[in-house]
Amino acid sequence: MNTFFISLQTEFMKIRRSAAFWLVITGGAFLPLLQMIMYLSKPSVFMKRLGHDPWMGHLLMGFQGGAFFVWPMFIILVTSLVTQIEYRNNTWKQVMASPLQIGDVYFSKFIVIQCMIITGYVLFDIWILLAGLGTQVFQPGYNFIHSPLHLHSFLMMDIKSYIAILGMSTIQYCLSLRFKNFIGAIGTGLALIIAGLFMLPWDKVVYFPYAYSALTFMRSNISSDFAVLKHEYWSLGYFACFLILGFVDFAYRKERG
């Protein structure tokens, strides 16, 4: 079997029951459950706020609520936790002394991280649906059951959000491979997210990838206009550049493991 697919399989085996695995499984429920608690505790307020199209209002509240901090932080944690599996267990040296190409290890680990992030989106979507339906069950005054679901908008928001975080997650992957210390990788990522939030009013923020998730969802027409924006192109650019730069750095470092 091709060593790349072997490496990919082993990377998936490593994340079983890891902290990153449990974060992905449970993380997607955080915001939708919070929304459901809000809806049930103040139905009169939120029935008005969600309006005549409750699914769209619910969806926007979920995406916009997470886009500024929760979702970027989730990406940083997942990326750092996956790479930290090797540092924390002191296993890099065993991986690097095994018969795998360096590129197999680097790219398969990146793919696993991206698969986990995409799984995070799928679970978030499922929890958004469940939160809407759950609200309807416990508070029949809401109108979720008779309103259209907007599956296309759902999917487009997922895609736009993913494009927006792709550059950031690639940079974070490179950082996490560099930092032996988990706190170093997380701390740097957190500082960059905060810097991004601080820079939002500045027009040059389109060049700062840690702010892209917020930039995508801070527009008023996000539910109807799905065109790819300037910063999303930049995100794809950062993804391509840092994936290659990170590989060069990984392959040519003096010490492995």
Binding site: M13, L100, R253
Partner: protein, 305 residues
């Protein structure tokens, strides 16, 4: 001509301006247990990391089975099992799952995982999380990983570190078994001379980055017989004792408190003792050196570079 499973030629390495290895040329014969011996910080781990490609080589050549790692990396690593420093295990997975990962990497046949678990005596602990293993169990699981591919060469860096005496004996028996029954060549580093003496067929002694001796264990023992037959003296000031004894006896200062002394017999030893006591020095011990390599090792590793 002897066939070497692993050979390094003129390996030099430095961290910054500090030289770590100087012209290290290891020769590990096929079928041997090669004890790579040296005090802590002598350069053992750096040598093994360089050999496995975990450190980028600066100068020198490394040959496995006559081939260079650079051009035959995958082929060589498939035939080489390793354990460098502490065991590399995924703590959140159980023993069996750890083995399954590397079983996939080495493309082992089904059932090999169970075989190596049996071999290292961890069959009953296979379902236990690796983070809950004792250090001895972790070492054995790490060795099981390195044995998965039925390697021709096993490289172990201080595998008995942190083990209790029972664990050390078990490890030694396991390595003997693998060498004798499976024809495995073993390169094992240690700072414990006694351990290497009991285990190795060949020895390399490294100190301050230089290979001071390399050869079979009998060759090292005969070197000892030729070079040292003296007495060991322990005192409060070996330098001063050395200066007092030098005009009368052949001596070598080993440490600030020990020296070796060449004397013809007990009466000369007693005379040396008297001389030191009369000059106000304390003599703690004066004894004929035991028939082991300790002294030779001490002599070699205390020689100023």
């Amino acid at each position: 001509m002897e066939e070497y499973v692993l050979e390094t030629r003129g390996l030099n390495h430095h961290f910054g301006s500090q030289p770590i290895l100087r012209e290290v040329s290891l020769q590990v014969p096929a079928g041997s247990i090669y004890g790579f011996l040296g005090p802590n910080g002598a350069g053992k781990t750096t040598t093994l990391r360089l050999v496995l490609g975990l450190l980028r080589k600066q100068q020198g050549e490394v040959f496995f089975f006559g081939k260079t790692l650079r051009s035959h990396r995958i082929e060589i690593l498939r035939k080489t099992g390793s354990l460098i420093e502490q065991p590399s295990l995924y703590g959140h997975l159980n023993g069996k799952e750890n083995l399954q990962i590397y079983s996939k990497v080495y493309q082992c046949e089904p059932g090999r995982t169970a075989e190596v678990l049996e071999l290292v005596g961890l069959k009953d602990a296979a379902e236990k999380k690796a983070s809950r293993y004792s250090l001895g169990m972790k070492q054995r699981l790490a060795i099981a990983i390195s044995l998965l591919s039925r390697p021709d060469l096993l490289i172990l860096d201080e595998p008995t570190n942190g083990l209790d005496p029972g664990g050390i004996v078990e490890m030694r028996e396991l390595l003997h078994h693998l060498n004798k029954e499976h024809g495995l060549t073993v390169l094992v580093s240690s700072h414990l001379l006694g351990e290497v003496e009991k285990l190795a067929t060949h020895v390399g002694i490294i100190h301050q980055g230089r290979l001071l001796f390399q050869g079979s264990l009998p060759a090292l023992q005969s070197l000892k017989a030729n070079t040292s037959s003296g007495w060991m003296l322990e005192t409060n000031d070996a330098q001063e004792a050395g200066a007092l004894l030098q005009p009368h006896f052949n001596i070598q200062v080993l440490t600030p408190t020990t020296l070796t002394l060449q004397v013809a017999g007990q009466q000369e030893a007693a005379a040396a003792n008297r001389l030191l006591v009369q000059k106000g020095l304390d003599v703690y011990q004066l004894y004929v050196q035991q028939n082991n390599l300790e002294t030779l090792f001490m002599e070699m590793t205390n020689t100023p570079s």
